[in-house]
Amino acid sequence: MYAFDIERPSTVSDAVKLLKESDENQPLSGGQTLIPTLKQRLAAPEKLISLTGIDEMKGICEDDDGRLCIGAATCHADVAAGAGKYPALAALARQIGDPAVRNRGTLGGSLANNDPSACYPSAVLGSGATVVTNSREIAADDYFQGMFATALEEGEIITEVKFPVPEKACYMKFEQPASRFALVGVFVAKYADGVRVAVTGASEEGVFRWTEAEEKLNSDFSSSALEGMSPPADNMISDLHGSGAYRAHLVGVMARRAVDAAH
């Protein structure tokens, strides 16, 4: 780790101000990716702006449209315990990492990093959620822009995510054996106006919607509607844990299991 300074503002506006002081400043949420990166000396921020002291970014509530609104600095354990209105989302949070990770890592941190193997992006994209920042609201379909790439501008902070609650949903994760991140994770959500299927872990492009599966499920929400289906293997990640073909196959398996288990 290189030496750095750390600030712990208590409001979003203070945090934004501090971030804009220098290009070398970097926000720190739960630190579950950033701290190991710093330990490896792969990043050298001048100043870390911790977001964990900002109360307005924490907690879970419901808005007038019935959406579940989760503060970006809410840790996974709190989502697991407090998102009972959206059981599939709570279950997803419960499956991330281990207790230490779940008590430090945050929803906003996960989305801002957009690791291609992270769980949360699939829930946000699969729910058609809205990512709220200090300056605007971004639709999930616009937010994710590829591996580790998002619509966030420099100095922009995610403050909240608004999840429309589906009729039924489920997240199925097949774990990479070592890291236990998603080798493939599929989030299926059935809304009155259609089904959304989001896939994490598999693609070189990061989280994506499997629209072919969505179309099938729109007319028949059953695993048999997806029988024999898997997305093309072309853009799938291939590494020592599995080939692109294997990942593509797993997307089909996990999607069918998610449909069967959706509630």
């Binding site: 030496a3 054996p177 070592a178 590494d239 020592l240 080939s243 294997y246």
Partner: protein, 787 residues
């Protein structure tokens, strides 16, 4: 009866300090004025090292001195402790192994420079400013490619990348070839024994200290054998005589073989402490451990098993490529040869066996012993090929094994060892019972009902432990003896301190060893304390590996205790005014046979140190005895293991549903500790079979270089085990009749797992799947099912 004698499942006394954070590990040792070293390591696998520009780093804050390979020009290289002779009677090729790289870098992680600074972070900062000038060379990664004519050489001064081409027993080759030619059936299997990264919980640490006023060196290090380090480093690297060099290995958090060897970092810290007149400390990071701890296994083998028309084994022939890595680690050459070839008879009376091993240099981290060391590789080949043969012949794999079991002992194998005792049918019977093999069919149906494939894998193993008879290993090329020592110091009031050359780094010696002394003297185990790990207070010992501690170290302790008993009987005879021959020691009391006259243990020990009423003319005062024990033979633990797996047909994921181990360890001192050793070994074997995948890319970069990609077994990867060690055929040649239990689980379990997975797939109709190489990751199993 003594409290906590032999056979008691006494709780481990050392766990109190380990579980409460009160252990004293090497990294807990900090010496006033100590500086810190950080090693700059090669990030390329193979290259010419044209020079190392340290100028920018020299003046950085806190930097005390930067060392490069040139600073060690006058110092010896890291030695190899075993010389193997090849098929043609020639010695192996033995390359130089400098403390810091000179002329070339040969693997990712090869140390190039060492920065000593006031703080760890300053040393690391300065290391980043060092500019090594490296011209990349093509990395040598594939063993078979490495042996082709014109292949790039890892060591330019050697004739090739071949360390040795070993044949065993060379004289038998013709007979073996003939037996295979004439066989009714030959089963052939090509397989890989996957490379493993040891991953002891405690990474390596070294602290070098030097006393300028006395000229004494001290090295604190994470070692399984401090005396061996003192000998190797003192005599071969730095030229420090033993009386001026103390090596201390305090609490050590696991070794599994990886802390046997003498490493460059130990020599560096010792050397630099004198050069700088300051203590120098190195603490290995986990990332650094992946590229600097000696790895394990990494064999590629073709095995042929020949059978006659009645399914009797008639011959075994193997050809193995064994990866040595870039340099020869301390015992590396012995692993694929003497610890592997000699075990190729397994539990079977195969009359003709020939083993060929080609050891190869590659641009990878050196490979050496890892829990089991050669014996897992032998067991895996043999037990996999037998399973394949049973399938090809359509016979029951257990019946085929039983038919070929060795049943008469002692048994001289065609691969130069003589098994003293064993009862392989007994362990197989016991396995059948504890594994509930007769209930498998019902469990299979239950799995099917849940859409899962179920398979059963059974295998046997034998290992050679209690390493080793010195005169024998000397003939085989060992450059050390393999005896063990113990000093039993009885204090005035009867308490006992035993100094043992065995080292405990998780094995529980501090609990089990006192149980033996307690049993012999009839006193409570709480009166006995074990000291180990410090060359200053322990006689020359060879340390802990090869499941040798109780068999060799324990035997030395028995011999020393026998001397104590002999002397105390003399003292008691004097005190009781009786003949020595009439003195009996029972339950801590010396009595005169046939009388009610007795004297207590404590009175006798006190008399030894307060010799007012004492036969001073015949007997020295004091009560301290030392013994060295050199085993007459290896010990041969054996057993039978059964694994049941479920395979998810959609994803290829394997889960271990049941695992049973029936072992014969001979006599047992502490059954609870033995069960714990078996559990740990099984977890490591299951880890190798299903999870652990040390993987390099073609550029020589380690892909599985952290826990993000290297899968260690976790609690939910292993089942609750059924273990049994009630089948006991005591060793005939050591005083305790013990065989050793530390490595068995890791040796016996990989073939059981793979046999079970292949069985599951075969039962599900995947008749083309006769083998899958470890680790059996979901992706590999799924790929196999695709045909």
């Amino acid at each position: 009866m003594p409290k906590d004698g032999i056979g008691a499942s006494t709780k481990r006394r050392e766990d109190v300090r380990f579980l409460t954070g009160n252990g004293n590990y090497t990294d807990d040792i900090n010496i006033r004025g100590q500086a810190y070293v950080h090693f700059l390591r090669s990030d390329v696998a193979h290259g010419t090292l044209n020079g190392v520009d340290t100028s920018a780093a020299e003046g950085m804050p806190g930097v005390i001195r930067i060392f490069t390979g040139e600073d060690f020009a006058e110092v010896g290289g890291i030695p190899c402790g075993w010389q193997v002779t090849d098929r043609h009677g020639e010695p192996m090729q033995e390359p130089a192994h400098p403390v810091l790289a000179r002329g070339k870098v040969r693997h990712v992680g090869d140390p190039i420079a060492a920065v000593v600074a006031e703080t760890r972070e300053q040393a690391r900062d300065a290391a980043e400013a060092i500019m090594p000038d490296i011209t990349d060379l093509p990395p040598v990664m594939d063993m078979k490619e490495a042996l082709k004519d014109g292949a790039t050489k890892v060591h330019d001064d050697l004739t090739s990348n071949l360390c040795y081409d070993w044949g065993f027993v060379e004289e038998n080759k013709g007979a073996v070839d003939e037996a295979i030619k004439n066989a009714a059936h030959v089963t052939t299997l090509e397989l890989v024994n996957n490379r493993l990264v040891p991953n002891a919980m405690e990474p390596r640490v070294a602290v070098g200290d030097y006393n300028r006023s006395t000229g004494d060196h001290t090295l604190y290090t994470t070692s399984q054998n401090p005396h061996v380090i003192r000998l190797l480093m003192g005599a071969f690297v730095l030229g420090i005589p033993e009386h001026k060099l103390r090596v201390v290995a305090p609490d050590v958090g696991g070794g599994f073989g990886s802390k046997i060897y003498h490493y460059a970092e130990e020599a560096f810290c010792t050397f630099a402490a004198k050069a700088l007149n300051r203590p120098v400390k190195w603490t290995c990071s986990r990332s650094e451990a992946f590229i600097s701890d000696a790895h394990g296994r990494d064999h590629v083998t073709k095995i042929e098993l020949a059978l006659d028309a009645d399914n009797n084994f008639t011959a075994v022939r193997t050809e193995t490529y064994a990866n040595m890595g870039a340099y020869l680690s301390t015992f590396a050459p012995s692993i694929p040869t003497w610890l592997h070839g000699t075990l190729m008879a397994g539990n079977y009376k195969t009359p003709n066996i020939y083993v060929n091993v080609k050891a190869v240099f590659t641009n990878t981290v050196p490979v050496d012993a890892y829990r089991g060391a050669g014996r897992p590789e032998a067991t895996y080949q043999l037990e996999r090929v037998i399973d394949k043969a049973a399938r090809e012949l359509g016979v029951d794999p257990i019946a085929l094994r039983r038919q070929n079991f060795i049943t008469e002992f002692p048994y001289a194998t065609p691969v130069a060892v003589e098994y003293d005792t064993g009862d392989y049918n007994a362990t197989m019977d016991k396995l059948s019972e504890i594994a509930d093999l007769s209930g498998f069919e019902a469990r299979l149906q239950e799995s099917k009902a849940r859409g899962k494939l179920r398979g059963l894998g059974v295998n046997c193993y034998i290992e050679a432990c209690g390493i080793a008879p010195s005169n024998l290993v000397g003939q085989l090329g060992a450059r050390a003896g393999l005896y063990e020592s113990a000093t039993v110091r009885v204090n005035a009031t009867g308490g006992i301190t035993v100094m043992t050359g065995s080292h405990s780094h998780g094995q529980g010696h501090e609990t089990a060893f006192p149980q033996v002394v307690a049993e012999m003297l009839g006193i409570d185990a709480s009166m006995v304390e074990i000291e180990h790990g410090d060359t200053a207070n322990t006689p020359m010992g060879m340390g802990t590996y090869g499941s040798r501690s109780i068999a060799v170290g324990g035997s030395a302790m028995v011999r020393a205790t026998e001397k104590i008993i002999a002397k105390t009987k003399k003292i008691a005879a004097h005190l009781l005014e009786a003949s020595e021959a009439d003195i009996e020691l029972k339950d801590g009391q010396f009595s005169v046979a046939g009388t009610d006259k007795s004297v207590a243990w404590g009175d006798v020990t006190l008399a030894a140190y307060v010799p007012h009423n004492y036969p001073l003319e015949d007997l020295e005062p004091g009560l301290e005895e030392t013994a060295f024990y050199d085993p007459a033979n290896f010990t041969y633990p054996s057993g039978a293991y059964a694994c049941e797996v479920e395979v998810d047909p959609d994803t290829g994921k394997v889960t271990i549903e049941r695992f049973a181990a029936a072992d014969d360890f001979g006599n047992i001192i502490n059954p609870m500790i033995v069960s714990g050793q078996v559990h740990g070994g099984l977890a490591q074997g299951i880890g190798q079979a299903l999870l652990e995948q040390c993987s390099y890319d073609s550029d020589g970069q380690l892909l599985s270089a952290s826990y993000m990609d290297y899968t260690m077994p976790r609690a939910d990867d292993v089942p609750f085990y059924q273990v049994d060690h009630s089948c006991q055929t005591p060793c005939t040649h050591n005083p305790l009749g013990v065989k050793g239990c530390g490595e068995a689980g890791a040796i016996g379990s990989p073939p059981a797992v793979v046999n079970a997975v292949v069985d599951a797939l075969q039962r599900a109709g995947h008749s083309n799947v006769t083998h899958i190489d470890m680790p059996l990751t979901p992706s590999r199993v799924w790929s196999a099912m695709q045909g």
